[in-house]
Symmetry: C2
């Protein structure tokens, strides 16, 4: 039998219980992290979201009924403890709780499918199968404390900059960029697709006069890749600004990256310590490396790369050996960038597109976009796309489309760059990849 | 031919140009809202995100070339104007701009598919077909100013309350609530569905020890409904809290609603004025109306409703006649609520579920959830569901699931309650309904 909560409510998280509370009655709620029964005294480590607290139950000081109840506790049971805070130099936090009353809120089957103390190594697939247990580990939850704070700081920064959050549809009638990496869905009697990017929608919003918009939302890509850097469902941080060019777009992006990292450093000290990350706030402006120089650098590292090719994985790694932090690659050939990218005003073969890299990892792509209708249609045709399938998008370019620029940041890749984790799946609560659809 | 931005950047939005700037050189960018050519003098109304400014071009005071360029402007063209601020008691804002230089950034075809001044009535379908133009109207963009601010205030409130934002997957292997209203997708060689609610995921997160979580994200429902209150893609504001019951869930919900409205009232005065909304901050606690009394009230209004039935549209309307603002319906029969809803401790026929209503509109559903594994399996069976299809969800209930409660708010319906708009499509930039997949 389990107990009900009734009128009990948690008074403190474990990390908030300090010596100053000595002698006070408090209520903690959480999981039995460990239990040690020494006969006349039982130690229970209670774990909650923010820490671990020692409950000390000496048979001589507490009622026999309570002592028996505590004796019966098993690992990972859910309990609530009402007790008195007492100083204890030997206890992990310098304080311990002498229990007065306990509620047994729920049990846990044993053995657990996954060790929650972090002492036993488990493969990522085993961990993801029991993600709810995996997330109980401090070094796993720390990643999500950081990710959550990162989103918070990005929103704060963009709101200060007078950007407005928008929501664009994820159910779309046609391909965003004419790509093949789309998940088809059955939308009543029609065929539809899942949005692989809000690109066309945020551009249409530029014609609406909203001027400065951002969106943080899921994107879906039916990529066959099964790597440490790809997901089939990810969160994209998208921004678009009217009356600006790619230089403005890079400036706001590097400032946003800097501010988010600064803010995470300030507010997630414990989580960073758990992950053993010594986070450095990058200086701005970030270095700009022209695509021509990238070809030279990559080639000089013995990796084959011809002018006009995108960066292969080997080429990215070669760049990562030379460039240590965040940097932009600029001056991309127009030929290998999407149709909506503005060709350079001096040399139309070189585009106004940029990528933001962190070492060997692409974090973001952006560009000044084409706002001229005729040029846009021409670029579509040059890339082998049929303008007719983009009619609702193209319409917005006929009736007053301002110059504009923007970018999209992969939230999970940015989280990787902050936390140092090597597998992108670590940065998602319930990742979706080529083989995984559950839990 | 159009001009390039070059080094021009907007210095002010229109509503920031006031008498204090008299004599200063500024740059405005936006659209030609109206143009009046009186021969010797031309008035151009320039519209940007935040207002409208009069550009006054007297042939005697400006260069003939500039005068000719202005003369050629057409409605909804995109321009940048460099000029001097001058007091003008007759101009709409008490100031006008005497132009010194102008850039023609992009043209606009005429006639427009939609009038942007708001003088010509258009049906919602016509408006949505040219949404980028529709959004240029102040009474349309006002709705999204408010919606964006609403999200901002909700996040601010939840962060103050120490809630953490999470992202759960939208690609799922099976039905959330065993429902039939799912969009099927092809996930490589498997069948999958689009998430109709993060319900099962936020509950699994309760077993992870994250304790206080929220998510603001799209949900997808393949409902056949074609009403003024349903969408097939919407934004859901979801919250879940461990170690709490339904009373706690209602308390945080009413506080959140109150705070969001207060904040919108404070920060969106202009938008509310445009919409002619006299927004009242609701007092808390909201009234609680027991389901039994709802049956009586509805019946007394001459609408047929048997005990144990959900509210029909007629029943909702009857309630809306009696209840003016926000109120909770509590004490729902367990039989008509989803399997995960906790039966009442005194009378298991009455559940711990609640709905938040605004007049005749359901804004939110919530409940204390079942945390006991055996009871949960029993409820699934009672509702004709197969527990085997919920295995990954059920697993989380075997290894230490705390008591928990939560709710989901329909962001668009909440926006309707604030803005007073009657068609839910008005609250979405690019709505998706039974018939509409574009733009």
């Amino acid at each position: 039998m389990t107990d009900s909560l009734e009128n009990w409510r948690r008074t403190h998280y474990s990390d908030k219980v300090k010596k100053e509370l000595k002698g006070e009655d408090i209520i903690l709620m959480g999981w039995v992290h460990e239990i040690r029964d020494l006969g006349g005294i039982i130690f229970v480590l209670l774990r909650d979201r923010d820490g671990i607290m020692q409950i000390t139950a000496p048979s001589k000081k507490i009622s026999p009924k309570l002592f028996e109840d505590i004796k019966k506790l098993k690992k990972e049971a859910v309990i609530a403890v009402k007790g008195i805070v007492q100083e204890s130099p030997k206890a992990p936090n310098g304080v311990e709780i002498i229990p007065e009353e306990i509620k047994f809120l729920n049990g846990s089957k044993l053995p657990l499918p996954l060790d929650t103390t972090g002492n036993v190594h488990a493969e990522i697939d085993t961990r993801l199968d029991s993600r709810y247990l995996d997330l109980r580990k401090q070094n796993v939850s720390a990643i999500f404390k950081i990710k959550s704070r990162m989103f918070h700081s990005i929103r704060k920064f963009l709101e200060e900059k007078d950007y407005r959050e928008i929501n664009t549809p994820k159910l779309v009638a046609s391909a965003t960029e004419g790509g093949t990496e789309l998940f088809p869905i059955t939308y009543f009697e029609k065929e539809a697709f899942l949005g692989q990017s809000p690109q066309l929608y945020k551009q249409m919003m530029m014609a609406s006069g909203f001027d400065k918009v951002f969106e943080i939302a899921p994107i879906f890509r039916a990529e066959e890749h099964d790597t440490l850097r790809h997901l089939n469902e990810a969160i994209s941080i998208d921004l678009e600004t009217a009356f600006t060019d790619h230089e403005d777009a890079m400036e706001i992006l590097e400032e946003l990256i800097q501010r988010a990292i600064q803010d995470v450093k300030e507010h997630c000290g414990d989580a960073l310590k758990t992950l053993e990350v010594d986070l450095k706030v990058p200086e701005i402006p970030f270095p700009r490396v022209d695509y021509d120089d990238v070809v030279d650098i990559v080639t000089s590292k013995g990796v084959l790369m011809n002018y006009g090719e995108d960066l292969s994985r080997a080429a990215e790694k070669a760049m990562g050996e030379v460039m240590d932090g965040y940097y932009f690659i600029t001056g991309w050939p127009t030929a290998i960038k999407p149709f909506y990218v503005m060709p350079g005003s001096e040399d139309p073969e070189k585009s106004c597109a940029f990528d933001l890299m962190y070492k060997d990892l692409e974090i973001s792509s952006g560009a000044m976009r084409i706002h001229n209708y005729d040029l846009l249609v021409q670029q579509m045709k040059d890339k082998g796309l049929n303008p007719d399938s983009f009619e609702t998008y193209l319409q917005a370019f006929r009736y007053g489309m301002p110059p504009h620029s923007g970018w999209g940041v992969g939230a999970e890749r940015f989280t990787m760059s902050i936390t140092g984790v090597k597998n992108i799946r670590e940065t998602v609560l319930f990742p979706r990849d080529r083989r995984r659809l559950t839990p």
